[in-house]
């Protein structure tokens, strides 16, 4: 049994000898919501109880192992003729101890935690809808001043760092950085609605202590109330395909005034972007813009080269959709044409009309038709996308 102590000591010394600056997390990260705080307390309490049970039982066992050995000539003491009454009495003792622990010592605080966790019904200050899709999060502010703000949040760790065989130095927030962060005001109760468009996802920030499955077609909810300003990071934690490890969650919790300023700025930014749809773009401008949009959003499946990953993700190079006509004779876009596919998606491909603005869609389609080995030669103007949407 000395082995087990050695194991523990071994682990400790091994960890201590590893890079000294690394911060080791031995427990949950610092809780910043009431729910996470409560979860931490419950966890600590239960862990202590479990360890107490474990070490008491272990101690009895170790004592027996050392005292009652054949090599020490210990003569076995036959238990008295199995009297059912005594046997039941003795075996009921551990039963009773666990009964007390399960349903009183652990059961009562656990009850309160559950009730608190599910308490989404109280007046919340605001509602945010989180939509998971392969492999990015989409955020929509549902009410208040921020109503109408919606954006997509993509992994922003440079692709070469996540590629196979990258040897260089990785970013400090490797795999945990996004282009658009969710911004929440500090100290306010926020209802988080959760849904998905393709497969199941799970929106999880460890420091918030809440996680909830996002189910396509259905709505789920949880709530957060971030009590401390800061940036908090998490990841998707329901296996959702090959990009499962690459859809982080980053939340900025800021004071109310800052949040209000952010709302105003974000709205102005969105207005500016949609205004861009009204101007006439040149082909080169669109292709340049489209390359960025493509590599950020489309390359995960269709690959940077446009070769795709058949059979799940078809190639764009030489594809019928990307080389076929966009509009029909009536001026409306063709079903199963290029614009239809990008706007509305099909099966595993998400519809991008809710995720990208007119300029981005026009740019990415123009790019796909005139790069990636395709040379259709036509240009799709943002204004045409704007009309097509309505």
């Amino acid at each position: 049994m000395r082995g087990y102590r050695n194991i523990c000591l071994g682990i400790l010394s091994m960890l201590a000898s590893l890079s000294a600056h690394a911060e080791y997390a031995w427990n949950f990260p610092e809780p910043v919501t009431p729910m996470a705080l409560d979860t931490l307390h419950v966890h600590n309490k239960f862990m202590l109880i479990s360890m107490a049970i474990f070490f008491v039982v272990l101690a009895i066992m170790i004592y027996s192992i050392f005292a009652h050995r054949k090599s020490k000539n210990f003569k076995p003491v036959a238990d008295k003729a199995p009297s059912t009454g005594m046997e039941i009495f003795w075996t009921l003792i551990p039963f009773a101890i666990l009964l007390l622990i399960d349903f009183v010592i652990m059961g009562i605080p656990a009850y309160h935690s559950v009730v608190m966790m599910e308490d989404t019904r109280d007046k919340a200050t605001m509602v945010v809808k989180v939509t998971g899709s392969q492999w990015r999060w989409q955020y929509e502010y549902m009410d208040g001043d921020a109503q109408g703000i919606k954006f997509v949040s993509n992994l922003s760790t440079p692709k070469e760092q996540t590629d196979k065989g990258f040897e260089g130095k990785k970013d400090e927030q490797y795999l945990l950085e996004v282009d658009n962060r969710l911004v929440l005001p500090v100290g306010e109760k926020v209802r988080i609605l959760m849904t998905a468009t393709d497969v199941m996802h799970n929106w999880w920030v460890p420091q918030f202590g809440s996680s909830r499955l996002a189910v396509p077609g259905f709505l789920r909810e949880t709530w957060v109330q971030v009590d401390k300003a800061g940036t908090y990071r998490g990841q998707c934690k329901e296996l959702c395909g090959k990009g499962h490890g690459y859809m982080p969650v980053v939340v900025d919790a800021v004071p109310m005034e800052e949040y209000k300023a952010w709302v105003v700025a974000k709205k102005a930014e969105m207005a500016k972007a949609s205004a861009g749809a009204d101007k006439e773009w040149t082909k080169d401008e669109l292709i340049a813009e489209g390359k960025g949009v493509y590599e950020k959003n489309c390359a995960v499946c269709h690959q940077v080269s446009g070769a795709g990953l058949p059979p799940a993700f078809p190639a764009l190079t030489g594809s019928k959709v990307a080389n076929g006509p966009i509009f029909g004779a009536d001026g409306k876009y063709l079903k199963d044409g290029h614009l239809d596919r990008v706007l509305n998606g099909i099966r595993v491909m998400p519809g991008w009309k809710a995720l990208l603005n007119d300029t981005e869609i026009a740019a990415v389609i123009t790019y796909e038709r005139n790069a990636l080995g395709n040379s259709v030669g036509d240009v799709l103007q943002p204004s045409q996308v704007k009309v097509a949407r309505q």
């Binding site: 690394a22 979860t39 054949k70 003491v77 059912t84 559950v114 199941m200 990071r233 090959k242």
Partner: protein
């Protein structure tokens, strides 16, 4: 009398040799040996897969395998370890030992027994074939959804999902056939005088397991069949668009999946007390209490399934019900732990390899059980769920509680099966290497989970690097130390010190009254139990 009692199995007195012996055998010992050998081979196949994963996770960044292949490895690793390594090992022991323990000449349905086994190799091939096909450009590889098959991901998946569904069907049929055989054997073939409450505990463990299998495997088969029709025949069981619900699959799957945990563990809980009493030289304590605990756990196992997906969203009363009923599983387990330790208490213990594995098993399974108790808490589960904490927890229950238990059984019964003693020193080295490297592999994973590392990700943030590195190194030590196990078994089959009939000084039960190895047809004359 003895000259005329060999009425049945006369036709096998001269059994064929070579490959035909194994293909056509209906002898319980041959079939048991095949199950155990198959299990050992698949243990290494599944192990090789996970070493590939641990090699990839050795440091942040992608080095060896791409994410698609990573997802295939995790799911197939789990399916192989559960269905092709752990379950066949337990069935192998059942075939070998149940007839010997209850004084029966063979299993009740020998031909069924043969079919049950020969379904396994094809299903193992079905599971792994897509890997090979993908190399030739056919399909996109094996099941990439994890072993849980959750739709819509599995509806979206490639041919690997179909292969895995068929494999699960075959594996299910195989284990149901095995279970029916075991139930019939235990009910009808016991030696005169051996009442149900005198049966060895291993037989009891298997009886409950067999009933659980017959009751729950059809639910799994039904669920994956619905998945198959959703994929190819236009049904919408799990598709919201057609009025279905993807979360329903989770309910169906875990209605089977949770009892499955006890299906894997009950046989082990059966023979562990037998090993304890042998090496404590003292009859086991609380036989009846343990049998009743088996019943209690078997019953509870089918009413607690939803604790596997608390975060999927449920009404508060449902959350509370599943939390408390899950906690209640610790009650019979506490009784069992008490009985195990009471059996050791004031015995005259010696620590040969089977006993070492058993003691190590009690401690490590204890960790698995206690972390399970913590996981039952709904609020904290929001954090643990799908994190590495869960991965560590179920490896404590299934690797330590399952596979290390099976290893104890192998060392315990190997001399009886082969007639030779294994190399004791090597066995002890194997134990210490396994126990230490196992802990070094999985203790860091508890901390990874607490720190917030989700499971099933091929690459991770820099803050998780150190623990992953330790875990990977230890996993390789763990994997390669199992070669000692194989070496020890092979040399023991080939030769070694002759084992006595009783093998172990304190061994009790009918199997130890037979010669080592037992004759091809044992108990041609039925023993009587007083």
């Amino acid at each position: 009398m003895s000259t005329t009692t060999v009425a049945h199995h006369d036709e096998h007195a001269e059994h064929p040799t070579g490959i035909m012996r194994w293909l056509t055998t209906t002898n319980h010992k041959d079939i048991g040996t095949m199950y155990l050998t198959f299990s050992l081979i698949m243990f290494f196949v599944g192990g090789a897969m996970i070493l590939g994963i641990r090699a990839e996770l050795f440091q942040p960044g992608l080095q060896l395998i791409n994410p698609e292949f990573f997802n295939q490895l995790i799911g197939v690793h789990a399916l192989i370890m559960i269905f092709a390594a752990l379950m066949p090992a337990a069935t192998g022991f059942a075939n070998w030992m149940i007839p010997l323990q209850i004084g029966a000449p063979d299993m009740a349905l020998p031909r069924l027994n043969n079919w049950g086994f020969w379904l396994l190799p094809p299903s193992a091939i079905l599971l792994t074939l897509p890997f090979t096909l993908a190399m030739f450009g056919i399909g996109d590889g094996a099941l990439a959804t994890g072993w849980t098959f959750y739709p819509p991901l599995s509806v979206q998946g490639g041919i690997g999902v179909d292969f895995a569904i068929f494999a699960v069907h075959l594996l299910g049929v195989s284990s149901v056939l095995g279970s029916i055989n075991i139930i019939v054997t235990l009910f009808n073939m016991r030696a005169p005088g051996m009442t149900l409450m005198k049966m060895p505990l291993f037989a009891w463990g298997w009886l409950i397991t067999a009933f659980l299998l017959v009751a729950t495997i059809p639910v799994l088969a039904g669920a994956v069949t619905m998945l198959l029709t959703d994929r190819h025949f236009g049904t919408h069981f799990f598709d919201a668009a057609g009025g279905g619900d993807p979360v329903m699959f989770q309910h169906l799957f875990w209605f089977f999946g949770h009892p499955e945990v006890y299906i894997l563990l009950l046989p082990v809980w059966g023979f562990i007390p037998q090993i304890l009493e042998t090496f404590s030289r003292k009859p086991m304590y609380g036989y009846k209490a343990q049998v009743y605990s088996f019943w209690a756990i078997g019953g509870l196992s089918v009413v607690v399934w939803a604790h596997h997906f608390f975060t999927s969203g449920m009404p508060v009363p449902a959350l509370l019900y599943f939390m408390y009923s899950t906690m209640a599983i610790s009650l019979p387990l506490a009784v069992m732990f008490f009985c195990w330790i009471k059996t050791m208490w004031k015995g005259s213990m010696s620590f040969e390899t089977p006993m070492l594995f058993t003691v190590g098993w009690i401690i490590l399974f204890g960790i698995g059980g206690l972390t399970g108790l913590v996981l039952a808490d709904v609020a904290a589960d929001a954090q643990y769920h799908n994190s590495y904490f869960v991965v560590a927890h179920f490896h404590y229950t299934l690797f330590a509680g399952g596979i290390m238990g099976i290893m104890a059984g192998v060392y315990f019964w190997l001399p009886k099966m082969t007639g030779h003693m294994y190399n004791e020193k090597l066995g002890k080295v194997h134990f210490w290497l396994t126990a230490i490297s196992f802990n070094l592999t999985f203790i860091p994973q508890f901390f990874l989970g607490l720190a917030g590392m989700p499971r099933r990700i091929p690459d991770y943030a820099l803050q998780f690097a150190e623990f992953n590195m330790i875990s990977s190194i230890a996993a390789f030590v763990l994997g390669f130390s199992q070669l000692l196990f194989v070496y020890n078994i092979v040399t023991c089959i080939k030769g070694g010190k002759k084992a006595t009939d009783q093998v172990w000084e304190g061994a009790q039960g009918l199997e130890w009254t037979l010669p080592s190895p037992p004759p091809y047809h044992s108990f041609t004359e039925q023993p009587t139990v007083k």
